[in-house]
Every structure is written in C-alpha cells, then in structure tokens.
Amino acid sequence: MGAGDLGRVYKDGEVIVRQGEAGDCMYVIQAGKAEVLQEQNGRNMRLAVLEEKDFFGEMALFEREVRSATVRALAEVRILTVDKRAFLRRIQEDPTLAFRVVEQLCHRVRRLNEELAQTKTGT
C-alpha cells in the first residue's frame, strides 16, 4: 500500500463482509475489484463484480437486517469504510447525499429486472 493510499487493502479472496453477520458500516471501493456472493444450499453464487467507486454494505445501514451477501476481494482491493452514524447524521442534514446511494440501488434494480426478464423468457 503506497503512503498516499487511503483505506485498507484486502488480499485476493479475503472476505470483507460475510453474509448473515450484523454490520454497521458501508464500504466504498478505492481501487481494485470485489465480488458479491450469495450462499444458497451450501453453494456460492456470484451476483456481481464491483469496481472502483462502487459501494456495498449500504443495505445494513438502512435496514436492521444482517448482511444479505458476502463480499470478497478479487485480487488485491483497497476499500474505505464509511461509519453508519456519521453517514446517517449527514444524510439527515443533507438529504442530497443519498442521491448516489439511491442511484446505485436503481441500477441494481434495473439489472435485476433485466435478469429476471431473461430468466422468465428463458433467453
């Protein structure tokens, strides 16, 4: 990690958040890639690959649920943690901070819709 790199480096395969665990922060990728995996019937299914500027773990900030998926480093990835309290306090003062979070959630819903449509039509 270079002197000017912010955040923390996770090595290839290292788990950043684990499905089913409680979480009180979200994460923003600074450099590198991470994969989102969901465990079903003992098998890991890859849901998405996240890249620089993408964030994850935000669902645990808004719902009081455990992590819905596991996120694992794909090669070396550098990640910045965003504290729940500071983030929610700031959203209360400046609701426009949520724009990007909502935007990313919209992208995800759009992608899921497309995948669902593909599955239903069998393409």
């Binding site: 990690m1 270079g2 002197a3 000017g4 790199d5 912010l6 955040g7 923390r8 923003v28 600074q30 620089e52 500027k53 964030f55 910045l80 943690t81 965003v82 504290d83 500071a86 983030f87 700031r90 003062e93 400046d94 426009t96 901070l97 724009f99 990007r100 979070v101």
Partner: protein, 467 residues
C-alpha cells in the same frame, strides 16, 4: 459606474421594482452564476451546483474566478493550510463518488501522537484504516525540486471544470449592482453581470471589505493570525520519524493554543494556532524538547523551506447571504480551528442545493442555507468551551498525567471502549461535531475513569513504570 459603493438602500430599490419579486428569484435555463474564489468552497459549490442542475435538467453557466494557478509552487499556488482532510470528509467524498487519488494524497494518516510535557502517547484508529489524507494545497513549498504530487485545490478545480464550470484566471476587484443583478469587474478589466454570485474568497482577501460595505447585513468573519511552515525531510526520514502519524502538541507555552506537525510526502508541515502568533512564540515552540524529538537532531529548524501567516476564522460571518448572493466556506461560516475544508464542502453544498431546489432570494437562503451555517456556528460555541478547557489543562500536570495514563491503558487493551482516545481523536482531527465530543466527555463513566487516572497517575510510583 461606481463599483463598490453600493449602499444598504439597494434592497429597498430592489424590492420596490415590480419585476424583482424575491419569490421569482430562481435559476433557470441559461442562468449565469459567478463563483468568486476557486478554493475548496468555490470548487465544491460549482461541482454540486452543476451536478444538481443536471439532475433537474437546468442548463446553468458557471464561471469560477480564481487568480491563483495551483500548479505553481510556493505561496502563489497555495491556499495556506495544514492540509489535513478530515476523516469525515474523506468518507463523505467517497460516498459522493470522489475518491481522493494517490496523485494528490501524499500520506494517509492512521494515528496521531499526542505530545505533552508529561510524555507522549500514540493513538490509533479502532479500524486500523487510513481515513485521513495529508495533502498540499498548492504544488509544493518554495524550495521544492521535483513536483511529485498534485495540489488538492487544483484537483477540486479540475472536478468542477470536468462538470462543466468555466475557469476565469483573474482576480475580482469590484462589485456593484446593475438592474438588480450582481455585476463584477476583474483586475483584467472584464465586466460581467450574473444571476447569482457565490463568494468563496476565504478570509485573506480584501474583497470582503467591499462586500461588507455593499451587502446589507453582511459582516465578514473575525479572524486571527496563524503560522504555517514546511520542512524538507525526504520520504525516508519522514517514515522513520513520523510514519503515518499526525503529531499534536498540548504544551504549556504562553499564547499557544494548538500545534500540529503533519507528515506529507517529502515535507512536514508545522501549524501553530494561538493568540498573536509572533517570532518568540514560534521559536519557543520549535525549541521545546517535545518538538525537537520529532525531527532528526541535526536538522536546522531555521529557516524553513516555506512559511506563511494566514488568517483563520474565530467567528462566522453575520448574515452570509442576500438576494442573489451567498457567502460560502471561510467567507461565510466555518468550523473553529478544524476541518475547514469539510466546512467548505458542507456550506458549499447547502448553498448549491438551496439555489437549485429552492431559489436564490435572501429569504430562500435564510430558510434553507442559514440552518447549515447555524449548526456549525452553534457547534463552534461548544468548541470554544472545549478549547478553553484544554488550554487550562495544558498547565495542569496532574490532569495531563491522567490523560496520558488513560490513553496509554486504552491503547494497550484491545476491545475496551477507548473513551479518552476517541474524544481526543475527534477533537484533534475534527472528525465529529464538538457537541458530540463534549457529551462524551461529560458521560459519568468518562469522568469517573478520568478522575481515577488522575489520582492513580499522581501517586508516586517507581521510576520508569509510569506510562
């Protein structure tokens, strides 16, 4: 035309004009916005104004007036500050999609060393993560040989330009009103009218006096002088002597309120805040053993590579808005002694969202922008109480020993609630509001533990065993 001679009767003229009903003051397609000052506040304002305008499909033109070239070394290219981007700002920017690049961040900070007359202690973040950035505001100090990192202000300006802001490399000298609209004149002779003016000239600009005389109700912030200097140590030496720690000092030196040494790439920055900073105060700080220990013994501390005596706010501005004008960053309201760049982000964004979603009349700014400023101003009052207390404490060796003992114990035990460490971390790094820090310090468990540590720390124990 008489620039700068605007009287407070303007508002009456404005309100009596039938076409200028304040509730009609809004930004629309083709509206023109001038941002005076391209430091953090000006660039953040331009960036977010354009971002929000694009979201609601309004096509506005933004011109940033900034005479400094941030790719220049020495004071010509520098906005004079310690160069710490607080933990909270680093996180917020990441959420905004702005990851500070390693071409700008010279060092990620993950801990700080607290130096007191009774000893020193290292305080690490609980996450063991680098979430504070040390940067240079310009391209580097006067004697820099090779420019390896870019300026923070230059980077923020690039973000604003990339969003569509137009940069005018000129100094605004005068301001007046023309048909109810702000009109500015630059040193280069350019005269332009705008629908909205965002004033982000900091507190080291003579232009604020013109606005004080021209904008009814606006009173610029009160300021005090500070001292900043830079020393060239080279990366290896910095790594050896400072690592990724910021060094803060609570020393019993008369008139010195707060001092910090911030490691960067090849340089370290020394910042002093206090009453009437002058030569003798600077000398007694640099010669104190606690400071000397942070530097290689053979390094001459005089003269430094670069130095300056910029102003810092001690109060916020009064009524930092009027119809079609808003004062942001240091020219408006900022945080006391800490996280000024974070406050510039907050006020700039509050002003931009008011202008896009509410309107640009004084009433709009009073209703939607002023609360953001007031929150900072109220918190600063609490900050003053905390700084007054730390000022007294610097002279009380028993209290200092109590702090030293409490922090040392907390840092040794993983898993315990590091109450004192976190309070000091947030106080020195500006990561949490002063109100939150004070509430934590008034917690009975905190007070109880502190008193216990003061008592135990004052007991005569064997030499060398005291932390």
């Amino acid at each position: 035309m008489s620039f700068g001679l605007f009287s407070s009767s303007f508002k009456h003229c404005l309100l009596s004009r039938p076409d200028v009903n304040p509730s009609n003051l809004k930004l629309d397609n083709g509206s023109r916005v001038a941002v005076i000052g391209g430091g953090p506040a000006g660039s953040f304002f331009s960036y977010f104004l354009l971002d929000m305008a694009q979201r609601v499909n309004i096509d506005v033109q933004v011109d940033i007036y900034e005479p400094r070239d941030f790719s220049h070394t020495a004071p010509q290219g520098c906005n004079m500050c310690g160069g710490i981007i607080s933990e909270s700002l680093v996180q917020l920017l990441a959420v905004e999609g702005i990851n500070l690049p390693a071409t700008v961040v010279q060092r990620g900070i993950d801990s700080y060393m607290l130096h007191m007359s009774v000893g020193s202690v290292r305080i690490g973040t609980p996450l063991h993560e680098k979430r504070i950035a040390a940067v240079h505001r310009g391209a580097g100090p006067r004697d820099i040989k090779e420019v390896k990192w870019k300026s923070l202000d230059g980077y923020l300006q690039w973000l604003a330009s990339d969003k569509g802001a137009h940069l005018v490399c000129d100094r605004v000298d005068h301001f007046d009103w023309k048909d109810g609209r702000p009109q500015i004149k630059t040193r280069g002779g350019l005269v332009q009218e705008y629908d909205l003016l965002a004033v982000a000239v900091g507190v080291n600009s003579g232009l604020l006096k013109i606005f004080r005389d021209s904008v009814s109700g606006y009173e610029p912030p009160r300021v005090t002088k500070t001292y900043i200097c830079e020393y060239h140590l080279g990366q290896e030496t910095i790594e050896k002597y400072m690592g990724s720690s910021m060094h803060v000092f609570l020393l019993s030196i008369p008139r010195l309120e707060f001092a910090a040494i911030i490691p960067k790439g090849d340089y370290v920055t020394v910042c002093l805040l206090g009453d009437d900073i002058d030569g003798p105060l600077i000398k007694s700080f640099l010669e104190s053993p606690e400071v000397r220990r942070c530097f290689p013994p053979d390094l001459p501390l005089d003269p430094p590579s670069c130095h300056c005596l910029p102003h810092i706010n001690v109060t916020g501005a009064t009524q930092p808005f009027a119809d079609r004008i808003v004062f942001i960053g240091d020219s408006g309201v900022t945080r006391l002694y800490k996280d000024g760049i974070g406050a510039a982000y907050r006020t700039a964004k509050a002003a931009a969202s008011t202008a896009i979603f509410q309107g640009i009349s004084a009433e709009n700014f009073r209703q939607y922008y002023w609360p953001a400023c007031k929150r900072i101003a109220i918190d600063n009052r609490i900050g003053k109480i905390i700084f007054a207390y730390t000022g007294v404490m610097q002279k009380l060796r028993h209290d200092l020993r109590g702090i030293l003992r409490m922090v040392s114990k907390e840092q040794m035990k993983d898993g315990c609630n590091p109450r004192m460490s976190m309070a000091l971390w947030d106080l020195f790094t500006g990561s949490a509001p002063y109100r939150e820090i004070l509430l934590r310090m008034l917690n009975p468990v905190f007070v109880g533990r502190f008193i216990w540590n003061v008592v135990v720390g004052s007991l005569p124990i064997k030499r060398g065993r005291r932390p």
